[in-house]
């Protein structure tokens, strides 16, 4: 029974025990076809999301026990092609070629069959055992699309199963067919799909040259990729035999001359011609004429006036409800913890409590009432398909700031917490766009900083100054974007984004996504809070704070015109920004901060807190996504920038208002 696939790779599996898997399945397909929903259906809680080794691409794997079989499943990234356009594509094709999963389940969106088949054809070129899941057939039916899966199966030579992922329909059948394929009971090697004569001839000749080469990819795949000018494959072959690469280049030019288009475009065109032919033979479309409700909503949100008004209203609603309810919830939770805390500790013990345990408590009282609901609402918006429309409406504006249109989404997330926001920069294709966005995001005031502004300025000065600070922050963001755009090397890419039909959010998807974002926060933020808190507490206990205060007094007192204690507060703020206003109460034993700071000082302090340094958690994320050097450069820049600007700002206020 389990003897068939002793080569089934188990090396990097995310299985939660060390049993060898009976079979390995990879899920592949375009983005947004419901692949992850199916993956979650298979694996439930038995999944692990990490990174591909050395790369900033998510690797989701899990395992499943089904009728006595242990099955490892890997969810490959959503991609449109198997070229070198993105790391996601590279990682996926390398996985399939080197790790040789027993079965690849290609999840296809029934509503966009032709486009999805383009990718299917590339999987076919990799000659892997394939099963096709035609997903979202219910949505397709509503659009008047009916797919003949038997015919499709006949044409491609592989099993084709209709599914409705979010309802779990057809999903079990996928597993069963996969098992049958792995056991050898079912044929799933796809039929060869042929291009035009002039291309096939050259492919055949290249395959002859490639006969003696041992690479994990099928020779037909290599031949086609060489004709397409694929850089990675070219390099690998060049190392073995330069002549083949030259011959392939010559063939590419010949094809170019015949068709009048670059060879890779010719091949893509032919693939699409084939995909189109297959789609026409296997689907029947009876167009439904009504301008559906979703079309009307779409027209509203992309309208030149109403679109922006509705965007403003939606964002306002989100932020307002989060901060109102968050405040209430936060008080309740804090109250609960306060009741637990030992009273009248004073001195060392209070600092320690505030540091270590306080770190944990702060994580809870910040994350639970504010960040979690914020991400919940945002994920709902995301699942409806609204956010790409926002990118659509703001792309040009973002461009002027030096940002990619899609960057608006992580930027909005940054108001909750910068950490998952920086992580979400992965939705952009180039590293440069991701870095510019992440850099700008560090200037976006997260919940902690907003609390500082509200708790200090709005409470003790007035609301208008609080608004002014947030406005100033926006201006800084605009400027920083342009600077980053000019300063950071590399290539950017314009907007090319698929827009899916607006739809009702699925509770299952929203909850899974929100929890996933929460996980990012918990695994990075909480440890930072707790460890940082302990370090600070230790520094206090060993009397390291006073020397620091004295050392930095020339900056804090002379230049920034703030009380010298501020250097200590800002140090605490590196761990958690809210500590900047919490610590004074502890150190001076009063919640009336007006006794410690003048109004001007409060404004300047809040301003500096907003922009002076990425907190430890954010730094950790920056380091992970962009490397130590970049994270350090950003940090140092921000410290110097905040100090410089803080001093100037202080004098400007004093000049204008005193």
């Amino acid at each position: 029974m389990s003897s068939c696939h002793s080569h089934s790779s188990n090396k990097k599996s995310g299985s939660d025990n060390e049993e060898k898997a009976d079979l390995t399945i990879a899920l592949a397909g375009n983005a947004n076809v419901g692949k992850s929903v199916i993956f979650n259906y298979f694996t439930g809680l038995h999944q692990h999301v990490g990174n591909w080794p050395g790369k900033t691409v998510e690797r989701a794997e899990g395992s499943l026990h089904y009728k006595g079989y242990k099955i490892d499943i890997i969810d490959l990234p959503g991609i449109y092609s198997l070229s070198t356009f993105s790391i996601e594509e590279l990682v996926s094709r390398e996985y399939i070629a080197y790790e040789k999963p027993d079965v690849v389940i290609n999840v296809v969106d029934a509503c966009v069959l032709e486009r999805n088949l383009f990718f299917t054809l590339q999987l076919i070129e990799m000659q892997v055992p394939l099963i096709i899941a035609v997903n979202m057939i219910d949505l397709a039916r509503e659009k008047g699309i009916v797919i003949d899966e038997k015919k499709l199966s006949e044409i491609l030579g592989v099993p084709v199963i209709p599914t409705i992922g979010i309802k779990g329909i057809g999903v079990n059948r996928l597993i069963e067919e996969a098992i049958r394929v792995a056991e050898g009971d079912l044929k799933a090697i796809p039929k060869k799909i042929e291009y035009g004569r002039e291309i096939e001839d050259r492919i055949r000749k290249l395959e002859d040259y490639l006969k003696r080469i041992e690479l994990p990819y099928p020779s037909r795949f290599i031949a086609i990729k060489l004709l397409e000018g694929d850089e990675e494959i070219r390099e690998e072959i060049r190392r073995i035999n330069e002549e083949i690469v030259e011959v392939a280049e010559r063939y590419s030019k010949e094809i170019e001359e015949i068709h009048g288009e670059p060879c890779p475009v010719v091949i893509s065109s032919e693939r699409y011609a084939i995909a189109s032919r297959i789609a026409n033979e296997t689907q029947k479309i009876t167009p439904t004429k009504k301008t559906s409700l979703t079309d009307r909503i779409d027209n509203l949100i992309t309208h030149k006036v109403l679109g922006y008004i509705s965007m403003f209203l939606i964002m306002f609603f989100v932020f307002y409800s989060i901060f109102t309810f968050g405040d209430i919830l936060s008080r309740i939770i804090s109250g609960f913890f306060d009741a637990l805390r030992p009273q009248n500790l004073g001195g060392y013990q209070e600092i320690f409590w505030e540091g270590a345990v306080g770190g944990f408590v702060a994580g809870v009282t910040l994350v639970l009432p504010y960040v979690l609901p914020f991400y919940f609402l945002l994920t709902i918006l995301e699942d409806t398909g609204y956010l790409p429309r926002v990118a659509f409406m703001l792309d040009n504006l973002m461009h002027k700031i030096g940002l990619h249109g899609k960057a608006i989404i992580p930027m909005i997330m940054g108001y909750g917490c910068n950490v998952p926001a920086c992580y979400s920069c992965r939705i952009m294709e180039t590293q440069r766009d991701r870095l510019i966005a992440a850099f700008v995001i560090t200037f976006i005031p997260c919940t902690a900083r907003i609390i500082v502004i509200l708790g200090l300025v709005a409470t003790f000065v007035n609301v208008w100054w609080a608004f002014t600070l947030l406005l100033l922050d926006l201006i800084i963001i605009l400027i920083m974007g342009r600077i980053a755009f000019k300063a950071i090397p590399g290539e950017s890419m314009g907007l090319i984004m698929e827009l899916h039909a607006l739809r009702m959010p699925s509770p299952r998807v929203v909850i899974t996504q929100t929890l996933s974002r929460l996980k990012t926060i918990i695994y990075i933020v909480f440890p930072s809070y707790i460890i940082g808190g302990v370090i600070l507490a230790a520094m206090y206990s060993f009397n390291l704070l006073k020397p620091i205060e004295t050392l930095l007094a020339p900056i804090t007192v002379d230049w920034l015109r703030l009380p010298s204690i501020v250097s200590v507060l800002l140090l605490f703020g590196v761990v958690r920004k809210e500590l900047v206003i919490i610590m004074p109460s502890i150190l001076f034993g009063t919640t009336d901060l007006a006794r410690i700071f003048t109004p001007t000082q409060m404004i300047v302090l809040s301003f500096i807190t907003m922009i002076y340094i990425p907190c430890v958690a954010t730094f950790t994320m920056l380091k992970r996504e962009f490397g130590w050097k970049t994270a350090l450069y950003i940090t140092i820049f921000e410290i110097l920038f905040a100090i410089a600007l803080g001093g100037i700002f202080s004098r400007v206020i004093q000049f204008l208002f005193e």
Binding site: I258, G260, S268, M497, L499
Partner: protein
């Protein structure tokens, strides 16, 4: 697919740019089409990586595309191609050359 006879072709140093005189006779940028109009792709200019990306998403020569809308403030355009909808930034769209199709 039909074979085309060899034509005068020249490529540019920063990517693929082919000039085939009769094909480009009435070719306009897709930006010149209005929402509701259809166009047939003639060729794609510009950076090789972007051209390939567009081709992989279905924007290949001889393909019919349908302009759905343009974002306000000189923003991206939204087109329908092969049953899917794509938002494409202005600069990239500028380099998609089409023949307008009569209604």
């Amino acid at each position: 697919m039909q074979h085309r006879n060899g034509m005068n072709s020249g490529s540019d140093s920063n990517g693929y740019r082919f000039r085939h005189r009769h094909r480009h006779k009435r070719a306009i940028s897709v930006l010149d089409l209005k929402p509701g109009q259809r166009g047939r792709i003639v060729s794609l200019r510009g950076n090789q990586k972007i051209v390939q990306r567009l081709a992989d998403l279905g924007l290949t020569p001889e393909t019919t595309i349908h302009i759905l809308r343009t974002a306000p403030l000189n923003g991206p355009i939204e087109i329908a191609v092969r049953g899917s909808r794509l938002a494409i930034g202005r600069e990239i769209a500028r380099n998609i050359l089409v023949h307008a199709e009569e209604e």
